[in-house]
């Protein structure tokens, strides 16, 4: 009742929506980099949005399905194949027992989300299954997936009916998918909206302008903790020390070398660098799918607009969840809707 890792690829971790409530103990939230893709993948297989799944970074992973199950792939596209047959993304796919899922090459984006009906059933630690590598907790024994790992899949919770009679193909995919118009606008060179951070005014005028007018390149040193950007060096009017305080996903900090860091899913709880900006939450999925080496540009919006965008995206996501459940019901895979 599981999935076996044949090759982990660059990095794959088990994530749910994160570990909240323990920030005051220095315990980070973790969770998916692209929460839009995470939630959608879960809905597509009849799961709750907070069930655990596998976040696959970049191409190269290969897993063996030890039983038949519904799966869904969302997020970045690394040309997934099941026993050599291309698998469509953003839709429920029923996978035969014994088939092998491989990611054969990066086409777009940076992270794929692999959800399975019933969720990944590793033990919860402090209320979450998310992998927290530094603390060695959550996910698969507190670490990234390795070759030979046997990933337990929840049995009791799967809500989707299995097809019958069973076909002979490695998989059956439904005929519909989450339309591209409903997904985040992933882009190789995105424009990311930001709100001024509390220390924006501490930077000199040239740096304030540069932040909004220049391209920034995502360096290869970027990871789940933060995106390190390369571009014009952002300088303070005068050097000063800041007192560490709370930070969150999307906070743009500038260390003394002047090169900004956008904090991502594995950010620490506190940060001591000046915060020049905060990425609009609605644009975080796009940022999370932008690859190292790509360039991006920032565009300034106001706090109220960022809040409106965030609420609109939340409402669209709820509608999407409803639409997916309706489709699953129409197809006869889902008996009841919540």
């Amino acid at each position: 009742m599981s999935i076996t890792v044949i090759k982990p690829g660059l990095m794959a971790t088990i994530q749910d929506l994160g570990r909240s409530g323990y920030g005051k103990y220095g315990i980070i939230v973790s969770g998916p980099m692209d929460r839009f893709a995470h939630r959608t993948a879960n809905w597509l297989v009849g799961n709750g949005e907070g069930d655990a799944l596998i976040e696959v970074t970049w191409s190269g992973m290969s897993v063996h399905m030890e039983r038949e199950m519904w799966v869904a792939l969302t997020g970045g596209d690394f040309s997934p194949q099941l026993d050599g047959v291309p698998v469509p993304m953003w839709r429920p796919v029923f996978v035969r027992r014994g088939s092998t899922l491989t990611f054969t090459g990066p086409k777009s984006g940076c992270r794929t989300y692999l959800a399975v009906a019933g969720g990944i059933d590793v033990p919860e630690v402090l209320g979450s299954r998310s992998t927290y590598i530094r603390a060695g907790i959550g996910g698969m024994k507190g670490r990234a997936l390795r070759k030979g790992d046997i990933i337990p899949v929840g049995t009791g919770k799967g809500r989707l009916r299995h097809p019958s009679p069973r076909g002979t193909q490695p998989f059956d995919a439904v005929r519909w998918a989450v339309p591209a118009s409903e997904r985040p606008a992933y882009h190789e060179h995105p424009c990311i909206r930001i709100v001024r951070g509390p220390q924006f005014g501490d930077f000199d005028e040239g740096s304030q302008l540069a932040l909004l007018q220049h391209d920034f390149r995502i360096t290869p040193q970027s990871d789940r903790m933060g995106y390190r950007l390369e571009g014009p060096r952002l300088q303070l009017h005068r050097p000063q020390e800041y007192i560490s305080e709370g930070v969150t996903i999307g906070t743009v900090q500038v260390p003394s070398d002047g090169l900004p860091i956008v904090l991502m899913a594995d950010r620490q709880t506190l940060g001591g660098y000046p915060k020049i900006a905060q990425v609009a939450g609605a644009d975080l999925p796009v940022l999370a799918q932008t690859r190292p080496g790509s360039t991006l540009r920032f565009k300034e919006i106001g706090q109220t607009e960022a809040e409106q965008l965030w609420m609109e995206q939340g409402i669209r996501l709820r509608q999407l969840a409803r639409m997916i459940a309706l489709k699953l019901k129409e197809d006869g895979w889902l008996d009841r809707m919540d």
Partner: protein, 240 residues
Amino acid sequence: MNRSEARRVVPLGESAVVVHLGGTVSEDLHHKVQALTRRMEANPFQGFVECVPAFTTVTVFYDPFELDLPLHETGRFDYVRSLLETYMADIQEMPDAEPVVIDIPVCYGGGFGPDLEEVASINNLAIEDVVRIHSAQTYLVYAVGFAPGFPYLGGLDERIAAPRKQSPRLAIPAGSVGIAGTQTGIYPVETPGGWQIIGRTPLPLFRPDQDPPALLRGGEYIRFRQINAAEYERIKGAQS
């Protein structure tokens, strides 16, 4: 009162605000930080997720979809700020609970504290003096962060201050007690680091199988107490 000393509430994205209670780190101000945190946790508003207290700030996380937003209110940040004004009313600089002092047994020097001699020689002190000074004081936990369960401590005696190691060690064992500049701290998990390591405590600072998962929390005080290797092993054994 200059501008930086004034209370401010600033947005941190769509789901959090940072409450600044003042501009200078002090024990008095930190008591306010803890008082506000306790007040919010004891009586949370609808949509409240968690507080992350630090030196002079409390970062308040909330779910913007769960807020009980009045009809006329358009901005969620403005609404949360107005809630926080109420919580902040009459916050006192006095601790509103009896201060907790936690005893941290430490085996100084030897294999547990390979840099104790260096810290002593930097400061022209005998090893025993470094231990005596380090364990004589109580230290306020200003914040827990950087690593799970890591306490930011105030008040290291400058007579035992020491610069960081020139090249950081690749792995410092959990429980190591170190000095970096005028800071002292305890490593809760094994990690690379450049602190001067003067001893080790057998107590686990990060214990994910317990709730709370950290031995220390902001607003508590600690005191280091010297133990010998046999006692270290005995306490260590009692933990597992």
